[in-house]
């Protein structure tokens, strides 16, 4: 109990030091910030709905990029995660696969988008590939850990039928992990819709490009329309993934 209190006190102290260093306790500065927030909000209202067709098209492109990138990354992550499963492959193979996944994951999605803009040029293809690459790194790690957690008794029993490693993946790892696989995939899709909103800032297509223009030209009422549209899409994604979970997740008995 006393240790918990001590740890909490130390954490709060550290937070205070960091925030003070960044100017969080500078009253005049924060007051100025609040005043600016009021000005910005007043300049954003009412939203300019005249840009809906343009923003809607750009947002549709963002949704397409997220969808394609997530599925592409998902498909590529499966073989990498299988290779990274330590109870299936030797430490050399699984270690190499996990290293590749970690290296991919180290690079943030925005940087991946820049790399693909350089490689394949401006536009949604770069964004899609950037999202796909980040998704591979993330899902490969999650799925490899998931496969490793499969009940060893099930693995032993199916191996004793003469099943190969591919059989094990198809008939044990995938069905046993189906719930978690789908949950993580839906989470990644939701995350990618949000993340891909800013990829247009670096020329990788989608709504980000439109947002950047409105920010640079100080057209905050138009920006407000874009932000509201993104909010609608994110809420729709939440609803869709909730429905999919209910519809497709298996309620396995314990």
């Amino acid at each position: 109990m006393r240790t918990n209190l001590l740890v909490s006190a130390v954490l709060i102290l550290l937070l205070g030091i960091v925030l003070a260093d960044f100017g969080f306790f500078d009253g005049a500065r924060m007051l100025r910030g609040l005043r600016n927030l009021g000005i910005l909000t007043s300049e954003m209202l009412p939203p300019d709905v005249g840009v809906l067709p343009v923003a809607g098209m750009a947002l549709w492109e963002t949704v397409q990029m997220s969808f394609a990138g997530t599925l592409l990354g998902f498909l590529a992550s499966l073989p990498l995660s299988v290779l990274g499963t330590r109870n299936l492959f030797s430490p050399i193979i699984s270690g190499a696969a996990r290293f590749v996944a970690a290296a991919i994951r180290t690079i943030p999605v925005l940087l991946w988008a820049i790399i693909f803009v350089i490689l394949v040029g401006l536009g949604p293809l770069a964004g899609t590939l950037g999202i796909g690459a980040y998704t591979v790194g993330y899902l490969a790690k999650i799925y490899a850990d998931l496969f490793e957690g499969t009940d060893p008794e099930v693995i032993e029993a199916v191996q004793s039928t003469g099943a190969s490693k591919l059989h094990l993946v198809r008939f044990v790892f995938l069905p046993e992990g189906a719930n978690a696989i789908l949950t993580q995939l839906l989470f990644m899709l939701e995350y990618n819709v949000r993340a891909s909103s800013i990829l247009g800032f670096v020329g990788a297509g989608g709504i980000g490009f439109v947002m950047q223009i409105y920010l640079q030209t100080l057209e905050y009422r138009r920006l407000a329309t874009v932000l509201l549209l993104i909010l609608v899409v994110v809420l729709a994604m939440d609803g869709l993934s909730g429905w999919m979970r209910k519809r497709f997740l298996l309620t396995a008995a314990q």
Binding site: V154, E156, A157, S160, T161, G162, H167, F171
Partner: protein
């Protein structure tokens, strides 16, 4: 059991010794022989090493000393596919894939004979499907083939596990305490079906068991105590039973 003709022995283990990570011996110089086409009960108290012995016999873990042979085939020299045609293994928790149907689980018994092509897409040869159906029928759950395993009762799952092993066509089936969680009536029914399967398919069964009340289903009884196997007798088991109940 030493009087059995060597041609009638399905599985022979000689001088098996096993310890986990240099700890005390779980099995010490264990030798046994299983008569062909019979149901042998491996009795012994919890923690006596029954699961370890079955895993060694199934080739899942390798002993520090000793050899196991099925129909004179040394198991350490067999690849996984060949081994699967010799030995079937049913773990204590059955090792079923809960998110697949009973039929899909039973068909997994045929994986050692199937290639990768269509099988990976979920398509099995017609004769394998017929065999799986027959195995489910033999277990009395032919009408439950399309039911997901996680929706099935404990007794139905036991039958699915046996059916999967029957489809595998092994010479010897090693089953680990797999009726322990069932009530006596259901456990008796499943053991009776196993006896029938043993006779019909000419399969040798070795079943570990700590419930003395079910020993009579075995044609033969082995007891495992302090890491060593001995021929069991009704009297010794009765005294074991009474000592367990008094403790």
């Amino acid at each position: 059991m030493s009087g059995i003709d060597s041609n009638d022995i399905a599985l022979r283990a000689d001088d098996i010794s096993f310890a986990y990570h240099d700890e005390a011996w779980v099995l010490k110089d264990v030798s046994l022989a299983l008569p062909r086409g019979k149901l042998t009960m491996l009795m012994g108290p919890s923690g006596s090493g029954k699961t370890t012995l079955l895993k060694v016999l199934a080739g899942i873990i390798k002993p520090q000393h000793g050899h196991v042979a099925v129909l004179n085939h040394a198991i350490e020299r067999q690849n996984q596919k060949k081994l699967s045609s010799l030995i079937g293994y049913i773990p204590q928790q059955l090792g079923l894939v809960r998110n697949l149907t009973a039929m899909e689980n039973v068909l997994m018994g045929a994986l050692g004979r199937c290639g990768h092509g269509k099988t990976l897409l979920g398509f099995f040869p017609r004769q394998e499907i017929e065999q799986a159906r027959a195995a489910l029928d033999l277990m009395g759950i032919g009408h439950k083939g399309s039911e997901m395993v996680f929706r099935m009762s404990g007794g139905e799952r036991q039958r699915v596990a046996i059916a999967r092993t029957l489809v595998q066509h092994p010479q010897v089936v090693l089953a680990d305490e797999f009726v322990s969680d069932l009530d006596l009536e259901l456990a008796s029914e499943i053991l009776e079906r196993m006896r029938r399967a043993a006779a019909q398919e000419k399969i040798t069964f070795l079943m570990s068991m700590h419930r003395v009340g079910l020993r009579d289903f075995g044609d033969h009884i082995l007891t495992l105590n302090n890491g060593q196997v001995a021929l069991g007798s009704t009297n010794s088991l009765r005294s074991q039973s009474s000592s367990e109940s008094s403790s």
